[in-house]
Every structure is written in structure tokens, then in C-alpha cells.
Symmetry: none
Subunit: 222 residues, 4 copies
């Protein structure tokens, strides 16, 4: 899936980049406050610091703004994520660090992530597919890490379980944004990382207890 081309009437690539950064920044703020549909292109232009005419020198349609946001959010996430990584870790420590770094990036970019998360479904066709694919590529990053742990014997999982685990990690991150009205009232990001990591790795803590055997039989789905 190729990156969708957003048309611009302006030739200077530097300027395009600069203006689009302004647009994305303005859009993230406005989309967060009022949502994509209730934000007008004029508001985006104004918040970006230029006129509606200028806005349309850098985009082809309102939807392009949303696409620009989604596209850049993934890049920002991946960039910042990479910056948080300690490459010296291995095994479960490394896995936990990858996940925690991800949570922390989502926290740092929560407005951006939330906008992307809540509005990407409003994209159409090409753009939508491109964004969905970027999402899958993020999932793959966790897959790789998990598989390493499995191959090294730190974890035991079927492929199916691994796949679902990745979904759960991703969603645990998103959750920090889309349920922020409640979870961010209840936890700091530090605490959230700690608790959520434990819950991802150990679940509800069944096996932390002594009489594991008893409980084990109870787990079975009827």
C-alpha cells in the first residue's frame, strides 16, 4: 500500500513540509476539541495561522487534513518510540521495555493518537487502507518482540495467542487515550505502565496464589 499523494499547488518542498506541520498541529488540537466533522476548514486555516485560500494550497480536500494527521501520528509514534528504547536489554526485560515505551509514547502523543484513533474511520478508500496498514505494521513490531521471547523460551504461546496478545498490547495503549476521561483520573502514566504490564504478563494473578491446581481446572470454558 503506497502513501497516498496529497496534492499541493505549491512547489517549494520545504514550505510544503512546514505548512503541513502547521496544519497537522492545528488540526490535532481542533479535532480533539470538537471532532473532525464539527471542525471547519476555516477553523483549521485560522488555527494554522493563515487564510482558507492558503490552506487549500497545501491540501486537496478536508479529508486530506485528516490523512495528514493520521500519517504523521504514526511517524511520530514510531520515532519517539525508537528514541525511548534501550537496545541493551534482552528477554522479558526487553519486551516489557518495548511495551512500556509504547505506553509512554502514547501518553506523550495522546492528543494525536486519540484523534487518529477516533477519526481514521472517516477516511475513505486509499487513505483508509494506508492507515490500517500502518496500524498492522505497529502490531508486527510487537509480534517480533514476542516471538523473540518465545523462541528464547521465555514465553510459551501458540501463534493464535501471540496474535491476540499483540492486539491486547496495542489496545492497552490506545485505551490510555480513549478512556482517558476515566483512567487518567485514576492512574498516573507510571502507575498505568506498572499495573497494565503486570496484568498483560500475569493476568488476574491466578497463578500467583498457592493452590494453582484447583483453580486451573476451574478456568476451563464450559
Amino acid at each position: 500500500m503506497k502513501k497516498k499523494q496529497v496534492p499541493s499547488m505549491v512547489k517549494d518542498q520545504r514550505l510544503i513540509t512546514k505548512r503541513r506541520d502547521q496544519i497537522v498541529k492545528a488540526a490535532v488540537q481542533l479535532f480533539n476539541e470538537k471532532g473532525y466533522h464539527k471542525t471547519t476548514t476555516r477553523e483549521v486555516a485560522q488555527q494554522s495561522g493563515f487564510s482558507i485560500g492558503t490552506l487549500y494550497e497545501y491540501i486537496g480536500s478536508k479529508e486530506d487534513i485528516l490523512y495528514l494527521v493520521c500519517d504523521s501520528v504514526y511517524d511520530m509514534v514510531v520515532d519517539q518510540w525508537a528514541g525511548l528504547m534501550d537496545e541493551n536489554l534482552n528477554g522479558l526485560e526487553r519486551l516489557k521495555q518495548v511495551i512500556e515505551a509504547y505506553f509512554r509514547v502514547v501518553d506523550a502523543l495522546q492528543d494525536e493518537v486519540l484523534v487518529m484513533y477516533q477519526n481514521s474511520k472517516s477516511l475513505s478508500g486509499e487513505a483508509r487502507n494506508y492507515v490500517l496498514e500502518k496500524e498492522l505494521r505497529m502490531k508486527e513490531m510487537f509480534e517480533k518482540e514476542l516471538r523473540n521471547c518465545i523462541d528464547a523460551g521465555y514465553l510459551t504461546m501458540t501463534d493464535e495467542e501471540l496474535d491476540l496478545a499483540c492486539h491486547n498490547i496495542l489496545v492497552s495503549g490506545h485505551m490510555w487515550t480513549f478512556r482517558r476521561w476515566i483512567v487518567q483520573r485514576e492512574y498516573t502514566i507510571d502507575r498505568y505502565c506498572e499495573l497494565q504490564l503486570r496484568q498483560l504478563f500475569e493476568g488476574f494473578g491466578l497463578n500467583r496464589q498457592a493452590p494453582a491446581e484447583e483453580k486451573k481446572t476451574e478456568i476451563q470454558t464450559p
Copy 2:
């Protein structure tokens, strides 16, 4: 938080209920297909089987439609959920059953749940709060169940962990709808219940270590 009053020009309560059921049904379908903002009130009226004028005899504004949907979705979920419950179970068995029943209700009502989930943020003020509160009330249902297990010694959790666990359960259910483009391609609802329950209870399976074989065979659904 009181139920928000949706104004109607019509007196007959029976008729109001009947018409609003039609409206909700029509809206769920349309909102799923095109989203709340891209669906027009005319379309809702037509799909409901009456005129735009009649529609406005039973609602005060477009937002009321969304509110009606969200409100009724919670009721439907709770109703169907109750219907799936086997009141004879206890302990962890009961907890698992509550969660699985919840997953299955979400699956049965996935269009409804998805609409509510993706659009409730478009509600404003009073209505929004009411819906958020309903969400919290669902969380409380899991809290109650989990606390029972804790009190009975089946689980060991701090209050903080319990709270997060409830969020995770709820989100695991929602996930079945808002990631359906990928998860419903990968799993049946049966398999999803099984795997997700295991992951909620045991996490990534760190502690499965020693008698791994034993456990794995036991867990599998026949």
C-alpha cells in the same frame, strides 16, 4: 445522573415507545453504514418508515437520535446479558461466565455497540454524562463479580488492580467490535472468548512454565 428527557410532541406513551424503537433500529443501521455525521435526519426518517415531520414529533434534535441509540444499547446489552447468565455458578466459574456472556452479547449486538462506542463522544453535556455513567455502571458489574472472587479467596488483587482489570474486561469486549475488521477475520467468537479469557486470567502465560503441557491441553476447547 438522571435520564435525559427527549422531548416529544406526541402524548401516547405507547406510540412514543414504538416509534422510538423504529428510530433506533433505523439509526443503528445507518450509523453503522455511514457514521453519525454523514447520516441525515431524512435518511433516518425514511429508514424508520415515516416522514421527516413525524421523526421530529418524537425527537427534539438529531443528537437525540444518537442519545436514544446509546441509551437503548445499554439496556439491550444488560437485558441480553442477564438472559445468558446461569445463576447457579460460583467462584471463578461464575466470573468467567459473566465475562464470556458479556463477550457474546457484544457479538450479538455488535452493530449497536459499535455505533454507541464510536459516536457517544458526539453527544454533548447532559446526554454525554448520562452515557458515560451507564458505562461506569457496566464496569461496576464486573467490579462486583471480581470482588466476590477476591472476597472468596479465588483471586488476590489490590483495589487498583481490580479497577484496571474491569477496564480491561470491558475493552476486550469493545475490541471485538472496533477492531472487527481484523479480529473477526482471525477468530470466531467462540475462539475469541476462549483465548481472551485465558489471556485475561493468565496473561502471557509466564507462570504456565513447569507443567506447561498439562495446562495447555486442559485449556483447549474441545
Copy 3:
């Protein structure tokens, strides 16, 4: 070529007809004054006596207004034309009467004809073809009349000449509108009919002179 369907949100056919008549009347006046492109839909609505919203209850796009005008102009022309015809005439008298009646209808409907004539090229696709075909159908009316005269021995013409003669008649009529800035200053419609008919039938009057035969040879193009 089928009549293009102009979409309407209104169900009452009587009302549609009435409103569209208002629209056509308003549009003819405005298009005459300022041209199609410089006339705004809001102006058409206002001149029609209703709001922009109502205008769009009866058309699908601005182009539909132009199409409505073109379509109705042909019908008006044909109607009024038929009304002017004396069916008792025959031979050249009848032919002359058909042409003169046509000129007089064009005069009576000159605003309408001019609008159609000057703007029909702005129609696109289906609508354009439909209008061109209506034009051809008018040409056929003259073809039929001329052929009758030829068959009855009143005129001698090849098919090629007949065809061109029809174009010339049609254009002589249109001319009364698209050159009205000059011809209507110079002639009354009565005089125009008289002179133009003579010129169509006799040309520059070469043969009005005595030694007609001589001159005929001179006329031929080398």
C-alpha cells in the same frame, strides 16, 4: 435520446411543474441579463420567489436550471409555432408561412431562444446531446416542408442543397436574436420576415433582372 431526468426532492408533480416554471422564467431573465456563468443560484432562487434551499428541492445542480430552460424553450417554440400555422395553405405559400411563423415565434420568445442558443454549449453529456437532438428535430420540420415543395415541383434542389437550406432558415431565425443589438435596430420583425424570406428564396436577386440566363452562368463558382 431520452429526456434527462432532473431530480427533485418534492413529490407533488403539480408543484414541481409550477416551481420549475418559476425557475425557468427567472433564469431566462437573469441569464439574459448577465449570462449563465455570472448568474448565481441564489439569484435564481430569489428571482423565482423562494429561498436557495427551496430551489434545490426542485433541481439537482445549477446545470439543471440551464437544461430546464433549454428543454422548455424548444417546447415553447414548437407549441407557439403550431399555433401560428394555417393548415389550409399549400406549396410555396405554405413553406413561406412555416418559415415566417418560425421567425415570429423566435421574435416572441427571443429572450428564451437567445439564452438557449448562447448557453446550451455549457451543458454537459447527456443534457447537451438531448438539446442538440431537439435542434435537429427542428431542422427536420423544415426538411419535410422543403421536400414537399420539391416533390410537388415548386422547387428544384439536391439533397445537399436542401440540407443547407434548412440550416440557413434556422440560422436566419436565430440571427434575429443573437444579432439583435444591430438587426432589431434596423428592422421591425415584419420587415425582417419580408426581406429575409425574399433573400432565402431569391438570394441577392440576380435573376430579378431581365437577362436571367446570362447571369446564371456567371454565378457559378469557378
Copy 4:
């Protein structure tokens, strides 16, 4: 009527002439393809080979482009027309040659003529009058020729008839462009010249038949 002054920021007259020629050439092509109103100034600039800023160094407004086109079309027509003339002919032969040459110039410059013909009504005020006057000056060329023939006894016409005859000649030429969708499918320019000349000089050919006198009386409009 004076030539309208088109403002330019540039001093060098040679450059002005050169750039305006580029503009006219580009505009003729674009106006033919999409019409004056649907062509943007940017497109004209691009097609001319320079930037929008440069375009506005040589014109004052979009309408000036149209004026430039109309103005130059007349000049081109007159130039090429003069080039086709055999000055040795006299009498009716000369008249026919003048008309045929005119037809052939219109054919050679049909894009230009059509653009001028279909869009000159979009000019305003001064420019419009100037163009209309140029049109009248062309008419005068035919008047002069016809009057020579009349004075020399080759034709017999009243002033009124002469005037209308000139309109008819002019329009016969324009017709080759504005009805080209049909007439150029039916005739070559050679054939068109031949047939149209015959029809202009002899009309429908009433008098080609024996009893010319009889018919003449019939022609008269009552």
C-alpha cells in the same frame, strides 16, 4: 471607438507584443476546449509558458485576455483575408471571391473565430463596444463590395436589402464555426463555399425554373 488600453507593468513594447501573442494563442486553445468562464487565469499562464505573476504583468484582468483574443482575431481575419484576394477580379466574380475568401479564412481560423463569437458577449463596456464595432467594420467590407456590384448594374437591391445581405454573408461564415458540430460533418469547406455561395446569390432556386415571373409574385409576403 478607440482601442481599449490593456494595462501592462512592462515597458518594453516588443516584449509586450511577444508575451501577448503567447497569451492569445494559449487562450484561444483553452477557451475552445473549456470555454472562457471555465478556464482559469492560472491555466492561461501555464499554457502561455510563464507564471501567473508574469501573466498579470501584461494584462490587468482576466477580461483583458478575452479582449486581447477578440481584438487579435479580427486582425488575423482581415490580414489573411487580404492575403487571399485576387485584386484583378471585378464585378460579380470579385464579389464571389471576397465572400469565398472570407469563408476560407473563417475555416482556417475557426478556433479563433468561434472563441470570439461565443465569448465576446462576456466583455463589458468599452471592450464590448470596440469589438462590436470591429464586427461592423467587417460588415462594411461586404457593403462596399455589394454596392460596387449594384452601382455597376450587376445586382439590384434596396439599401435595406443590401444591409441584410451583408448580415447574411457574415452569419454564413460564422455558421461554419458555431454549427461545426453538424455542418462540418456534412460538408467540406470547398463544398460549403460552393453551395452557400449559390444559395446566397440565388436563394432556393425559384428562378432557376422556367416561369420565373409567376413565382416572383408568389414570393411576396402579404
